[in-house]
Amino acid sequence: MTLHVHGIVAAGHPLPANSPLRLVVWQDLAAAVTSVPPGRSVAADSLPHLELLCALVRDGPVVPLRLGTLADDEDAVRADVLRAGAARLRFQLQRLAGVVEVHVYVRSSWGVGSLAALAEDTAVLPSDHASHRRAYLIARENLSVARAAVAEMDAATFVGPLPAFSFLDTPSRWGW
């Protein structure tokens, strides 16, 4: 059966309770996958894709894959995803160890300075008429501090922890 590959984790990564996810392990790497029943629309799995990744990232680094990454079977996942991309995947997992992404949606960007000071990295997300949106790469131990800072801001939404979707292409911060 076709597999939907959601993200890459370390081989020993715990799975959340009652999760449809299972791990396909190759050496020290594992792919978190779900089975795709025949005829199932991948677009319908977009919100579950994000929810499953958010559940995973609470227990350690996750490299999120683009929605709609499909593999024929477990062998294809091991050979064409994990073994073929091993160097890049290990590099990303090592980079993301200890940090998570959080989003803050605010009406005015006034007051986000305290968060920026807390963050390892910052990214500006597409905004709409109602909100300015920013992504922050935050150390896990600072998560509750960040949440409290946002709670004090006026009409701000805090979303996190998320996998580091917005920081996969910015290695220069660490000089790698």
Partner: protein, 110 residues
Amino acid sequence: MTAPVTPGGLAETLNILLDKGLVIDATVRVSVIGIEILTIEAKIVIASVDTYIRYLEAMHRLDLTRRTATTIPPPGTQGLLGTHGLLPMAVPVPIAPPNPAAVPLENELE
């Protein structure tokens, strides 16, 4: 440490992150479906077909009007000092009165 994702924010977050994530090099056995093709493009196609049909309908009405008109009046004076504008006078387009059965009256709405 356990900081649950804000449930209300996740749909908005999904829209932002929909096309992000590491892209695996496609092979014979592994593929990455273009989510833009799956969702966004489908909506655009539906919207453009609708717009195109409306356009055709409008052109058709305009064409009928032109055929029935015997003469097109010359452009009238428009600007300062009696200059002629670049645009010809607008061709009147008949608009069918709204069907009273299809349009609810205001008092019915109350």
